[in-house]
Symmetry: C2
Amino acid sequence: MEELVISPVDHDPQGQVKQQQAAGVGILLQIMMLVLSFVLGHVLRRHRFHYLPEASGSLLIGLIVGVLANISDTETSIRTWFNFHEEFFFLFLLPPIIFQSGFSLQPKPFFSNFGAIVTFAIIGTFVASVVTGGLVYLGGSMYLMYKLPFVECLMFGALISATDPVTVLSIFQDVGTDVNLYALVFGESVLNDAMAISLYRTMSLVNRQSSSGEHFLMVVIRFLETFAGSMSAGVGVGFTSALLFKYAGLDTENLQNLECCLFVLFPYFSYMLAEGVGLSGIVSILFTGIVMKRYTFSNLSEASQSFVSSFFHLISSLAETFTFIYMGFDIAMEQHSWSHVGFILFSILFIGVARAVNVFGCAYLVNLFRQENQKIPMKHQKALWYSGLRGAMAFALALQSLHDLPEGHGQIIFTATTTIVVVTVLLIGGSTGKMLEALEVVGDDLDDSMSEGFEESDHRYVPPPFSIGASSDEDTSSSGSRFKMKLKEFHKTTTSFTALDKNFLTPFFTTNSGDGDGDGNGE
Amino acid sequence: MEELVISPVDHDPQGQVKQQQAAGVGILLQIMMLVLSFVLGHVLRRHRFHYLPEASGSLLIGLIVGVLANISDTETSIRTWFNFHEEFFFLFLLPPIIFQSGFSLQPKPFFSNFGAIVTFAIIGTFVASVVTGGLVYLGGSMYLMYKLPFVECLMFGALISATDPVTVLSIFQDVGTDVNLYALVFGESVLNDAMAISLYRTMSLVNRQSSSGEHFLMVVIRFLETFAGSMSAGVGVGFTSALLFKYAGLDTENLQNLECCLFVLFPYFSYMLAEGVGLSGIVSILFTGIVMKRYTFSNLSEASQSFVSSFFHLISSLAETFTFIYMGFDIAMEQHSWSHVGFILFSILFIGVARAVNVFGCAYLVNLFRQENQKIPMKHQKALWYSGLRGAMAFALALQSLHDLPEGHGQIIFTATTTIVVVTVLLIGGSTGKMLEALEVVGDDLDDSMSEGFEESDHRYVPPPFSIGASSDEDTSSSGSRFKMKLKEFHKTTTSFTALDKNFLTPFFTTNSGDGDGDGNGE
């Protein structure tokens, strides 16, 4: 239709058609990259090539296409479809990923190690943020690297302390490892995202207010408030859904679609409820996932059970893969400030140090309260230290820092973060398999014990019982025994969670009367 | 945190947090409305209350919440989450709905009536658009209503000729009706959307160019080009997917997720491919759906088959319900120009007349080429005429006309369209059940014959054989017999589609060697 030359008028339908066409091309490219990632990931996995896990592959595909698009000078109308929008990430990509984490969780190892996980995630992330921030500030003061103000150093420390669950866990699942190690790595990386966001936002407020110092306690209290509130919201939504499905009588043949529609909406409801009242959507949807898997799931009809499992698996796979592609593309497209290579190099060093302080420090703390045969072994600590790669969460927060901080500073932090993300995803992602082998924590016992129940395993250390940080009957370690005594009393006076679950929660919230484990078909 | 008063600086993290919170509240409200719609729809259906079908309910919920939000003066940051974006509708809500239409389609009744459907959709919609446009122009010239320029009248005619498949079909399914009537209503309403968009866009270009007249032929040619191109693209993508799944060997136990991920991406790929090269995504994805159901689907593993069926059903239910809520909300929020009530009233009259010309005219034409026992009976024609309610497509195009046309004119068209949408959805949607009863086309034979194969039905008129517009052996009608002869020759010389399908397509594209109908589990 070349005869249709449009004069540049105010309202331009041709332009609108063009715009929609550009959207089509943009989305088409994204779909093609997604398909390519899936196929590549499948081929590599089939050939047991662990040096390029799926996430690294997706990141590379995004990077390469991004560089090509940069060189070929693609139309901006198509490009806009590739810019990483933090809002899109936080509202649409993150929720399914985190929900699936909670939904596919094996509750026993997770809750057995709950004390350790919370210690790593809360105290550990806090320590890591402060250590990273402090070191970066010190480095700046000693003219080793570009000097940022102290609060901005802490913001950087907070955002770079968010570790990514996706890549490492997929390798862990592939090669198989100890359930307790898996639970630790998994739990820490999911929960510390929430901590990192919270810390980052609080620091960013402190930075606005420009009177720091006294606010340190406030940060901690605020985080704890947010965490407890979000967890309650998530658990509340989960239990509500369990009751709804128990009594609505939707588990009949022809109502499967309605049942699934409602089930699928609940997690998102939980996330948005928490975000809407200013809490953490991530924490909320994580606990909704755990509760819905444990209670709501068993109230569904059998067909719906298998459907929703596959559904969330599918959606989270798509979201995960897309996130890495999207990130790779955006890294190739955004402006970077490469004038401060020193900053980047020292940052990488410092986050290694900070993570060491976090992991080994917290492990020491946790081991103080554990029996001899329950202590976290050194090789697990090393594996945990090594697993701290940075992914989409750090990237999204760094992108936000571009808006939050004055020009140059935001740029430096963003460039450093993207470099760290690319380096850790490619290097750590590629070598995790080897690392697990070297540490001799490889084995196919993950899959076995996950499907059977991990208590029978006698060649590994025994996990602590199903209660937060409390030890069981015998006394072994000497230090911290007074605190331990208190915890033990607490443990004895309250009903243990397992009993509570079996006697009250399961009969009340589900249609099964007995115990009925029902978590054998996770994944 | 009331002590944190933020000064209005350039980069405002508090503002960003606020914005995300607003997004949370907005999406939360949407989810709640979705849940409410599903529950309401379920309750009404269970009590066989056909006066308020699900779509009408959703529209009403949207309208009511919209009016409440208007009265309560909700924050604009939350409101923005409810504005109907045409782009969002065309790129994300429409594709799953149309794909599911094609995917759940019973191919036999559809292809048996293909000639009639194409006649109604292409010639009929064209006629209806021109008649509506002409009447509106005439009405304007006779000072009955506001006078719009001729091309704008035709644009209005085009956009208001897009009928909506959702509501009527759900009632048809509920009460049960003749398969041929169902196929006619279904096929016409899906295909005429594509025709209406194409006509609207072409008219809108003509309007820009302001030299109309000679372009009438161009409109037709362009539409046919677009239609043929989009159909080929859709069929091509469908066949590609069939071959991929036939040879990739993904139908093993542990690859179900990969299989489903890829399957789910193809329809979207087809839509975006067509949009990206300037064709019609709707037509393309519709045919991809038909082809994927017939060929690709049978190459999947059994678990994936049941999963993807449920998946597309779920996604399209969500998209449909959301579209009506979204539309209702936006109708309540947008500015309307109520100064031209005459325009609205006469428009309603005119679209009734235009649809009568379309349906009865085309039915006469179709019946000319059909045998006595295959003719479309009058009561079916009446039912078809009555089923022409206007929905989201007309609404989205009217919203676009606000940008395309000068101020006042766009407003008038928009207000008229929204009124027509609300009136037809509520009135026609509410009375379709009664109408079907009155016309005596009710019966549970829809479900029966759909699952069995409709040829055995002897109490209804026999559908024409599996070929476009061609009659079978005997001669019956007198007029148009020369054209019929040609068609018959065409029909005889070419292999019939059924044989082609059985002997070549099915063995080539699927893993079954025999016929293997495999479309019994639609829906």
